[in-house]
Symmetry: C2
Subunit: 354 residues, 2 copies
């Protein structure tokens, strides 16, 4: 199940309300969207079916962008707990023993073979026992933009690199992050996880009763009236659901969470600062998408639409993005603060640029 | 005579080959072009006629941009010595005793009353004696982007603030410029000057004989066949003329140069760094043309076309210009280096952006 419902304001101005980041051509291959790259990797790694969950407004974008992709459309976005609960209900209607894996659509994976192996192990772990298995990434630096997992003992299961997860940790400050890396006991939380669909719905029922009740209604409609009936119920019950992430709503509160440790060349394409990891840099150390020239500068991330040009002279470590009717300039180290720009535009009544 | 033939690559990407900087709306009043502002000030200050010299390709832009402006069109641009020689020849055909004043089209004047007084004194000086009178600006800081005049003794003429000019000095380095300012003996070379038209043509004949001969041919055609005949001769002789500035070709080599000292709130709108002096800055210290937002930054110069937006987050003292199909980012202190961008575009075969 590909989670493709995000809005991705941190990739503004390339990402817009009408074209969220998972549809941007920021995949690992030229011209490939993040969603298409994620689907490609999932199809290559897993033996089961691949589908995506996205908001109804973007369902057509997803279907046309990735031929043959099954799309489960939410009437409105309510964050990842509801999205995965809805996907689980749909899977259970086909197979009461379904094992599901959830993959965010906005990730970069540098080592696809290692990725496939980790996926395989996680599916095995989820099929063998009543656990939720996530994938923990060996941290290569003290990232402050990711959450972390504190790992415990190895799990005796015959599956390699499988560990207990003691707790989920929010994005740390820089000093804490450095401590995590040197301790060897913390991994990046990749946001991928694997479990029996039944287990997930049970956890949601227990920990998020309102959402659980809504899912039960949708499941009943699915059993009695099929997809059309289920969509009608969803349209009615979804708007009042809380917007809660699967991490906050379930993972941090449930028990029996394990993880596969892996080094996947993984990165969360959550902000422009991640682009060099995805696309690499040229001989001058600049990462350039489109027609851009950097004179006497290094470490810049630059993007320009076709038939446009962006020119940088004498600046370094800047993000400069030209997309459509907007231009963004922000230091790489503050790339997360794009949301300040988005907030400022909204506050000034300039939502037409969002 | 307004010198309106420049190309102004240092104001790229707003200035383009097809729309040089004098036609940009960077005048002192909103929506006013630099050329229109210069013509307005000239008409307000001088009692005589106002005309402009520009390349034939831009003559229509000049005429439509400034209603009622007489335009002397050069077949091709050959820098300011030829342009002013051509203007002088045209003025002499009407009045052998014509006194002319030359004003670059790309200047900002903050104190228009002081400007009018300085113009009046310079015309007086040029009418009274066989001198070339320039206007020297009291330097307010050690600018490295301007040439300087070394002034000598006051001239006993009944005209206030009139001084001998001992020599012209090229753009200095920062330390030299500071020394100039503290010495009190150096003034910024404003590029404005005033003399009898006959004197200018004589100087060009003596110091630039090839150009002088061409001007004589044009003058003869003007006397015998009028403007049409003169234009035909100009079209034939102009392409082979050297491209030399009036400073290098005449002013640095001739004698009898004087200057009116003035404090005019003057600035050469030669690069984006000059824009704050022309347009001022907002409460956050940013100079913004068009729809731009600066979050957490100061000292920036930002421009955006209508219906576009430029957003800066966490950067200061940057020039960020969106114009048409191009975006430029350069530190304010390196604004002169826009020409490096222009050169890079030309070298890469991307002249379509110039």
């Amino acid at each position: 199940v590909i989670l493709a419902g995000g809005s991705g304001t941190r990739l503004w101005p390339a990402s817009r309300r009408a074209r969220p980041k998972q549809f941007l051509a920021l995949g690992d291959r030229p011209g490939e969207s993040l969603l298409a790259a994620t689907v490609r990797r999932a199809r290559g790694a897993a033996t089961g079916d691949v589908c995506a969950v996205t908001a109804a407004a973007q369902a057509d974008l997803a279907r046309t962008g990735v031929p043959g992709l099954e799309v489960i459309a939410e009437p409105v976005g309510r964050n990842t707990a509801a999205a995965l609960g809805l996907a689980a209900v749909h899977l259970l209607a086909r197979d009461p023993d379904a094992v599901m894996g959830a993959l965010p659509a906005d990730q970069h994976v540098g080592d696809e073979a290692a990725f496939a192996v980790a996926i395989e192990r996680a599916f095995q772990a989820a099929a063998q026992a009543d656990v939720i298995c996530t994938i923990g990434i060996e941290p290569s630096y003290g990232a402050t933009g990711f959450g972390y997992l504190e790992v415990g003992d190895a799990v005796e299961s015959g599956i390699r690199d499988l560990y207990q997860v003691k707790r989920f940790v929010e994005k740390p400050d820089a000093a804490t992050a450095e401590g995590y890396v040197t301790s060897g006991r913390y991994l990046w939380n990749s946001g991928m996880f694997f479990c029996k669909a039944r287990r997930l719905v049970d956890d949601i029922r227990r920990l998020m009763p309102g959402t659980g009740a809504a899912l039960d209604e949708i499941a009943a409609a699915l059993a009695s009236g099929g997809a059309v009936a289920a969509d009608a119920v969803a349209a009615r019950v979804y708007p009042s659901l809380p917007s809660v992430s699967i991490d906050h709503g379930v993972m941090e509160k449930t028990s029996g969470v394990v993880c596969v440790r892996g080094e996947l060349g993984w990165d969360d394409v959550g902000s422009w600062a991640a682009l060099p990891a995805v696309r690499g840099a040229d001989a001058d150390g600049n990462t350039v998408l489109g027609d851009a020239i950097v004179v006497d500068g290094t470490g810049n991330v630059v993007a320009a639409d076709p038939d446009r040009v962006v020119v940088l002279v004498g600046v370094s470590d800047l993000v400069v993005i030209q997309s459509g009717d907007a231009v963004l300039v922000v230091p790489r180290e503050r790339a997360q603060d794009v949301r300040l720009a988005v907030d400022a535009l909204a506050a000034r009544g300039q939502g037409r640029f969002l």
